[in-house]
């Protein structure tokens, strides 16, 4: 057990290192260089060689690649997060502390709603396998899986404006400042994300419950005359829901991909909006740092979920 935990944590570091190299590398293979693109974006008719060199030096582009990489990683670790945004001059550390909270809340609400909805639905679908509740739930999950998030968002906005004559509040407010405005703003992307997430989790729950229902110990429990509710609660669900937790962690990266676009459509000032704005402005320090941060959190959460899984389910073979 200890060896497994140690191995898993040790693997986390090279994986993160590899990720940082990929992101760093991608930002350096740009056709043309960053400085030239920044200058061409500014409304200056004529740029001297001197200004160009000055900008390159101030961006650290004249340093050897290893030094640039080292500087960046060091600033990621000491909380500077790669300096400041090229577009807005805002320190990235401030941007992170402001935006991370919003995305974390968005993800949290989505996860809560998903868990409340998907587990009962999955169980229901399994119990009534191939009967009408299963079919209704299946339609709900298939549509949730295949309607593109961002179009669903557009349709929701359109519906609210045309039919309800109502739009969400213009500005995002923190929960403690103005709870009503906060929820009226953030609930829409949450519902859309939760639909896709629920679709996925319901399918997983259903297939796990189905598998456990076929086990011998369930037949034994039934044959000794236990009430069906006791069989389900004590024997089936306990065993069926464990794998569901791991998959929940795995899906988190889909969740964040989705929030990337939805934050933009519903103008929620989270990490996703920051990355997209950075991508549009070619704001390299911002994309680089926010992306690595996102990957860091995802890898971290997956690690924790993985370890939890092994703790909850003692049947897992640690030698593997």
């Amino acid at each position: 057990m200890k060896a497994y935990v140690a191995k898993r944590i040790l693997l986390f570091v090279p994986t993160l290192f590899f990720a940082s190299l990929l992101i760093f590398g991608a930002m350096r293979v740009l056709p043309g260089d960053v400085a030239a693109r920044i200058l061409s974006d500014e409304d200056q008719a004529y740029v001297t060689q001197e200004q160009y060199e000055q900008l390159r030096t101030s961006l650290g582009l004249n340093d050897p690649l290893a030094v640039q990489y080292g500087t960046w990683i060091w600033s990621m670790m000491n909380g500077q997060f790669g300096g400041e945004s090229l577009a807005t001059r805002e320190p990235i550390s401030e941007m992170v502390s402001r935006r991370l909270r919003v995305t974390a809340l968005l993800a949290l609400y989505t996860i809560i709603i998903t868990m409340i909805v998907s587990i009962p639905l999955g169980i229901l679908a399994a119990i009534y396998q191939d009967r009408w509740p299963d079919y209704v739930i299946r339609i709900f999950t298939i549509t949730g899986n295949s309607i593109p998030n961002f179009w669903l968002a557009l349709m929701l906005l359109l519906f609210m404006v045309l039919v309800l004559q109502w739009s969400p509040p213009l500005r995002y407010r923190p929960v403690w400042d103005d709870p009503t405005a906060h929820f009226l703003k953030i609930i829409w992307p949450v519902l859309i994300l939760a639909w896709g997430y629920t679709a996925f989790m319901t399918r997983i729950t259903r297939s796990n419950v189905l598998e456990v229902l076929r086990q011998d110990y369930v037949r034994t429990a039934r044959s000794k005359g236990l009430h069906e509710i006791v069989v389900l609660g004590r024997h089936v669900l306990r065993n069926a829901l464990i794998p569901v937790i791991t998959v929940a962690g795995f899906y988190l990266s889909f969740l964040l991909s989705g929030s990337l676009i939805l934050e933009n459509i519903f103008s929620i000032p989270g990490i996703g909006q920051g990355i997209i704005a950075g991508a549009r402005e070619r704001d390299y320090p911002v994309i680089q740092s926010l992306t690595l941060l996102l990957v860091f959190f995802l890898l971290g959460i997956n690690l924790i979920v993985d370890l939890l899984y092994k703790i909850i389910d003692p049947r897992i073979d640690f030698a593997k």
Binding site: L11, P14, T15, F18, A19, L22, I23, A26, M27, V29, L30, P31, I142, T143, N145, S146, I147, P148, N149, F150, W151, L154, M155, L157, L158, V161, L162, R203, I204, S207, L210, S253, F254, L256, S257, L260, I261, N264, I265, I275, I276, A279, R280, R282, I287, T291, L294, V295, L298, L299, N302
Partner: protein, 281 residues
């Protein structure tokens, strides 16, 4: 004859999957025949017909420039299908070769490949594509490459795991025993026997790729206007007053949702038929 009866049997066993397959074939036909079947030129501006609601003349209405939306949707299917198929073909080919080789050769190469997959699985899919498109610049080709890159790690993972079991099969051991070259073993014995699950994954990825390219174009980072794509049509619809011309944001999305839905149900049905172990998951 046997192909036809095979298709009929598939349709009887999996009606929804067969429906998906039919829609996909229909969309491909439309995309190929686009120049012949469009009612109007998708690029021609017609200021006198700006914001026409759907009618018999303009089945899906017109946009601010008076361009016929149905024609633009039909041309947009070309972008979706091209990126979908091209990225899946590239990703699958590269992924299978790396995955199977990695399983067969083992050793340090396999270790590096495994670390690489672990890393890639840590990235949110859209972020990988986004970073690559920003690095390479937005264009049809770069978007295709970025989506293929975001997908081939999954192919490696899947083909590697099936190759690990195929490697122990008697026919591979026999090939090794008679002294066949590594390259021959890989191409003749290993790869063909690892393809079934990869094929299923590829079908499901087609739908995902189409959503990603639409999402990117919607964010302004994919296919650039005036080339019509469903994503950038939705983007320009969202930018103008949506409630003024709701048809602009409805129809391209319907086409997109229909195609991804079709790929999803077709892929599921295919998986049930080809890979009984994964049935019902």
């Amino acid at each position: 004859m046997s192909i036809l009866s095979g298709i009929l049997r598939f349709a009887r066993r999996k009606p929804l999957g067969a429906f998906g397959g039919a829609v996909v074939i229909f969309m491909i036909t439309i995309a190929v025949l686009a120049p012949v079947i469009v009612p109007a030129d998708p690029y021609t501006h017609n200021p006198s017909a700006s914001y026409e609601p759907p009618s018999w003349k303009y089945l899906a209405g017109t946009d601010v420039f008076g361009r016929d939306q149905l024609s633009r949707i039909i041309y947009g299917s070309r972008v979706s299908l091209f990126v979908g198929f091209a990225s899946v073909i590239i990703g699958t080919t590269v992924g299978v070769v790396i995955g199977v080789t990695s399983a067969y050769v083992g050793g340090k190469f396999d270790l590096v490949v495994q670390r690489f997959i672990d890393t890639m699985m840590g990235f949110p899919g859209l972020v990988v594509v986004l970073v690559m498109v920003v690095a390479l610049g937005p264009s049809l080709l770069n978007v295709t490459l970025a989506i293929a890159f975001n997908y081939f790690d999954k192919v490696i993972r899947l083909s590697r795991s099936s190759a690990l079991s195929v490697k122990e099969e008697p026919y591979v051991l026999a090939a090794v025993a008679i002294g066949a070259r590594t390259w021959r073993i890989l191409t003749r014995y290993m790869i063909p026997n690892c393809l079934a699950p990869v094929f299923v994954l590829a079908t499901q990825q087609l739908g995902a790729a189409i959503v990603i390219v639409a999402s990117l174009s919607f964010l302004g980072l994919g296919v650039q206007p005036p080339t019509p794509s469903w994503g950038n049509m939705l983007q320009s619809a969202a930018k103008t007053n949506m409630e003024l011309a709701p048809w602009l944001s409805i129809f391209p999305g319907v086409a997109l949702a229909l195609l991804t839905f079709s790929f999803a149900v077709f892929g599921d049905a295919l998986r049930d038929v080809l890979d009984p172990r994964m049935r019902g998951t």
